[in-house]
């Protein structure tokens, strides 16, 4: 089989998350081989088997830790074959209250969502460049990165960093055949948000996010929002700071 963007293997980083698995199912349904990478890949045994039975595709796992920034270059180098699509769904919400009072907890949120994923993305893209390959890197960021809020200033600022990094990477790699896509989901009903009181009309199922991602991948979009969230976030971004700071949402 020739190696093209549409048929090559897909690497999913942070594969235990619900969004990541939903994306894995979408690519699996297209017949793409899947590599699921997570800190504890043995937790994915059931899901791997499920992907195989459902889609009849090859599924393998890799262990990796997004916080091990020293290891990212060798992780990227060790991938064989090198995937044509890479989805970075790594994320950690943490607890805002805890982050305020515990520097280590705050640092963990910021490294898990920003420096870890950014340095990893860099390493992976460099491997593509070095080997003369093309590829698509899909970074799952968040609407939380669009504007800092009192309720999630740590998570939000880290995601803002990741979003800005992806934007820079996209510009740098423009014209090389390596495409960088940023996905900014709003509220998604996942394990991360379980038990949170989210507004139902604005809360998507992981499968809906995954379908948006696949569609956007096909059309090589740059920045992806659910249409409802695009409206909401446009409004949120346009609010003058003098008003924004007084709001309680």
């Amino acid at each position: 089989m020739t190696r093209t963007q549409e048929t090559g293997p897909v690497l999913i980083l942070g594969a235990t998350s619900d969004i990541a698995l939903a994306i894995a199912h979408q690519y699996g349904a297209q017949g793409r081989a899947l590599v699921l990478a997570a800190r504890a890949p043995d937790q994915l045994d059931r899901q791997c088997q499920d992907l195989r039975v459902r889609h009849g595709v090859e599924v393998s796992t890799r262990a990796f830790d997004v916080l091990d920034i020293e290891g990212h270059a060798s992780f990227a180098q060790s991938l064989d074959p090198m995937p044509t699509t890479i989805v970075c769904a790594v994320g950690y919400m943490g607890d805002e209250e805890t982050s305020r009072n515990d520097a280590a907890a705050a640092d963990l949120v910021m490294r898990s969502n920003f420096s870890g994923p950014a340095i990893l993305a860099e390493a992976l893209c460099q491997r593509w460049v070095r080997d003369g390959l093309t590829g698509t890197l899909i970074g799952i960021s968040s609407v939380a990165g669009d504007r800092g809020r009192a309720k999630n200033s740590y998570y939000g600022s880290a995601k803002a960093g990741f979003t800005a990094f992806l934007s820079g990477l996209r510009q740098r790699l423009n014209g090389t055949g390596i495409h960088v896509m940023t996905v900014n989901p709003g509220f998604v009903a996942t394990r991360m948000t379980e038990g949170m009181d989210l507004p139902k009309p604005l809360t998507l199922q992981p499968g809906a996010v995954a379908r948006d991602v696949i569609k956007a991948d096909r059309s090589r979009s740059n920045v992806v929002y659910d249409w409802r969230w695009r409206i909401v976030m446009t409004a949120v971004r346009l609010l003058p700071e003098g008003i924004f700071k007084k709001l309680k949402f």
């Binding site: 059931r46 899901q47 088997q49 499920d50 039975v53 459902r54 394990r191 379980e194």
Partner: protein
Amino acid sequence: MTVLSGWGRYPRVDCRTFVTPRHPDEVAAPVGAPGSAIAQGNARSYGDSALSRETVVSSRHLTCLIDFDAETGLLTCEAGVVLADILRVFVPRGFFPPVSPGTKFVTVGGMIAADVHGKNHHRDGSFGRHVAWLDLLTADGTVVRCSHDQNRDLFDWTIGGMGLTGIILRAAFRLRRIETAYIRQKTLAAANLGEAMDILDREDGWTYSVAWIDCLTRGDAAGRSLVYLGEHAGVGDLTPRQAARPLEPGRRRKLSVPIDLPSWTLNRWSVKAFNELYYRRGRQKTDQVIDYDTYFYPLDNVLGWNRIYGRRGFAQYQFVLPLERSRDGMKEALECISRSGCGSFLSVLKRFGPQDSAFSFPMEGYTLALDFPLTQRAERLFEELDTIVIRHGGRLYLAKDARLPAASLQTMDARAEAFRRWREESGARDAFRSHQSERLGL
């Protein structure tokens, strides 16, 4: 506290602990905690079978497929896998569920617990007949594999046991081969109940058969029906366009009911008018080839159709009568319904084959399924129907029940007492209880 209800939206029950384990190994902990537990799948049973004031263990995250053997059609999966998912994956590969209820939004665990039946019951029995084995988390916290050869007693009570023997974690069952995703349907009009039953008796060679029945007509036309007979279509039955992709019919648009309709929308006059139109239109259709979705799950294409009954909800009433009493009993039941003036919007008559496992609903005979908006008049009607069912030696389908009194169940179904005793002896009675089992004293 979580407020839970079934598909009929009655009753609503405050549940103390609603858990959604992410791994089958996580199910044991909430079951071992003090108090009783009951499993819940996609909450499509109509009444309170999967509700409890104590612990409800949802299988919504236990949705992995485990194995599929294309030689034998044996599918192994977790209990929370929804039938719609199985159809999506396996119809394009030429396989179909062995038995399918009227909705595809049910889970494998739920289909086993209620031992669901389909339009092919007279030939293929209920879902349980096709289950090779299942893994059950029992009262003492151990997971027991059961089948016809292994822990047979437990297997037998679990199929149709309404979740009251333990929590089903996984199961293996056989899918049937299909050549196309289409059904060849033949529609026969029957002028009254007797004729409908004659047709169902005579045409038992068809894999699928069911009758839509008009419960509001009286006299000679009482129980006029449209009998739908169905067979999996072969490639030769299809149009060239369908035959090009025989296992992949196009997707249909879904409608949804966005709001609760006012509860007066469905009354005896509107239902009567609907029935008249439906019967006339149906009489003109004879032979058709339709996709499986349209044939098996017409209501699934109206998402949230339970909202047409308004906020106060509705109740289904489905009973079966033994063959030798079916003609008299059904006639009596229809007279009773017609007299009551309650319009049943969806009434379905079906011929059953014999009972399959210890506490399964079906028995050789005829079953009638009705649904009514919940009104006091409907409740009085249900009580009258209970007496008719008891008098003719029939019984009710617990997956649709939300109101049967314990005393009526005891008189109606001798197996209830045996089941209760078995539950007591096995320890299941302390560990697994639903709002329904409490109500029925099971």
